[in-house]
Amino acid sequence: MLQIMEGSHAVAEAAKLCRPEVVSAYPITPQTHIVERLAEMVADGELDAEYLCVDSELSALSVCIGSSAAGSRVYSATSSQGLMLMAEVVFNVAGMRQPIVMSIANRALGAPLSIWNDQQDSISLRDAGWFHLYGEDVQEMTDQHFIAYKAAEQHDVLLPGFVCFDGFILSHTYEPVDIPSQEEIDAFLPPYVPYNKLDAKAPISMGMYATPDYYMEFRYETDQALQRAGDAISAAGKEFGEMFGRDYSGHTESYRMDDADVAFVALGSICGTVKDAIDEMRADGIKAGLVKIRTFRPFPAAELAKALAGVPKVAVLEKNISLGSAMKGAVGPEVKDALTGTAIEVYSYVIGLGGRDIRKKDIRAIAALAEKGVGNMFYGLRTEVL
């Protein structure tokens, strides 16, 4: 049954349905409504979890490591500066192979301070060993939490995952959303069975240090596990589709890509605007299409290459900036790499940073730039204030 619900509250409902034993988070805009709602659920006895109000994001995720290592399913959520403060722990979680799921309400990074949306925060931690899921709307980002836990906890994966969604644009927007029942989620997501845990009856050491004789193999195995996470996400997405009618088996999703002359590649809520712009362009005879990236890590290179095969020009819409890089955006080079050996031209367009609105006419203008072979640039700069 569809309910009208704020994005953050839908995420909190999803987290609750996953039955975390420990919730540990520190408030930061625009993540706050998620953790506030979870606190209410614990206070009202709707959620049987230990809820820890911690001193910082550094502690928030460190608490999660301890609880996860002791055998509990755990949940946290953060944004922006909070994610950066916990960055050291983010890398550590993956190396320690703890299947923690954390929601990221995407927000820009300071300086200058900005509470508004872009995806610089999670994109900047793309090399940390977590899988990254990006939601386009409230329904998708809600469902991705169930898929994330299911994939993370597979014993051939045992890696953490981000579920990312655009701050304010999705976190604070009310949309109709189908929230599964507890019985349905229990059937989809069984209780967490740790591969190993801290237990006085069977002592192990976790988080030991590795000399040069061993370190590289640890990193190799983590990368292998992250590749396997791709299969686990796809399998969980397929199973979810069979149970709930919303299929997430693909790491990408194509929109009107048949005979497209220009294809957009994008992540998150912008895809809705892009789809509307494509409909208008198609009506005007401009053959545009979209390949949405749902799983950014592991990077779905083969799937993307297949989806973009035969398209002359690709415009990657980037809500991030890899400062000092040749293409400017961080996603573009990976798309380009996936298309190595083809004649497809790939351009990055940095847009919408720090909450700048992205309109349908901007999407149309970018399509025109790509057609002309102009790209790897900021789009929509207010030159009068430079």
């Binding site: 034993e21 820890l52 911690v54 502690s59 608490v63 609880s67 006085a200 050491s205 590795a210």
Partner: protein, 297 residues
């Protein structure tokens, strides 16, 4: 009762000969018993006891990062509580991880009042990285980042009073100990893990490499620190002083002279005004904790 025959910290680890922290690891586990989960910070003890794929720990042990042991322990405790498990949770962290970089996580954990025991092995500097000054380094000690020189007498700042900071958090039990007194260490660990709430134990663990003395003298140096009043063994419950080790105090000179980190105070000739300042620190400790044995005692 402490089972002194219990050996849960195995031999074969890589600590220096006469390592104070290694002694503490062994004594600590006699105090906790087997039903324990140990959370370690990055530091000497973590490195010398767990080079993959070997471990000296016969109890469950976890290390995450330098600064977050108290938060990791909070998470372990929350999970145990949720599942009605009985293991005690004990942090073992160096003074850098405790006095400096870990303060945020420690403050949060003690504010929340988790049922954990946080043990600091205090060897009074960053020994793992090569003897750099920490907030626990005593006044005038020469370290690699507070070296004595023509215009320096070594560390110019006093040792931070970490136990009082945790008392101010409302910790149920705060105590200090020294590996020079092994029975006292074991008893205090046992008391801490059996006291509900967050407890703090700060243990003086002389470091032959960092302080500059022969590895056979660790216990002797530890005793000298107590006998001169520069280290005081005491116990506090909910902020109130309950007991302190009484001594017939001797001047600080002997303790200082025995260590290379204070050598600049005596060579080429004694720097009497600096030694007097250190003596004043010991005198203040003695007054504060009432450690002097009176003539009629």
């Amino acid at each position: 009762m402490v089972d002194k025959s219990l050996e849960l910290f195995d031999c074969g680890h890589r600590a220096c000969g006469g390592c104070g922290p290694a002694m503490l690891a062994r004594l600590m586990l006699k105090g906790t018993g087997e039903d324990v989960i140990v959370v370690a910070s990055t530091g000497c003890m973590e490195v010398f006891s767990t080079p993959y794929p070997e471990t000296a720990w016969k109890v469950p042990w976890i290390h995450s990062l330098f600064e977050n042991a108290a938060a990791v322990a909070s998470g372990v405790e929350a999970s145990l509580k949720h599942n009605n498990r009985t293991e005690k949770v004990v942090c073992i962290c160096g003074d850098g991880a405790t006095f400096d970089i870990g303060m945020l996580c420690i403050s949060g954990a003690f504010e929340r009042g988790h049922d954990i025991t946080y043990i600091c092995y205090d060897n009074e500097a960053y020994m793992n990285t090569g003897i750099q000054r920490s907030g626990a380094t005593p006044y005038d000690a020469s370290t690699t980042t507070s070296p004595a020189g023509k215009k320096s007498m070594g560390n110019s700042l006093p040792k931070k009073d970490m136990p009082q900071i945790l008392n101010a958090h409302g910790a149920s039990y705060v105590a200090t100990a020294s590996v020079a007194y092994p029975m006292d260490v074991m008893k205090k660990v046992e008391k801490a893990v059996n006291t509900p709430g967050a407890c703090y134990l700060q243990v003086h663990t002389p470091c032959s490499t960092g302080w500059g003395f022969d590895g056979s003298k660790t216990i002797e140096i530890g005793k000298q620190a107590i006998e001169c009043g520069l280290w005081v063994n005491y116990e506090m419950e909910y902020g109130e002083l309950k007991a302190s080790k009484k001594v017939r105090r001797v001047p600080v000179d002997g303790y200082l002279k025995a260590q290379k980190r204070f050598r600049h105070l005596f060579k080429p000739q004694p720097v009497t005004e600096e030694i007097a300042k250190i003596q004043a620190i010991a005198d203040a400790n003695a007054a504060k904790y009432g450690i002097d044995i009176q003539l009629n005692e």
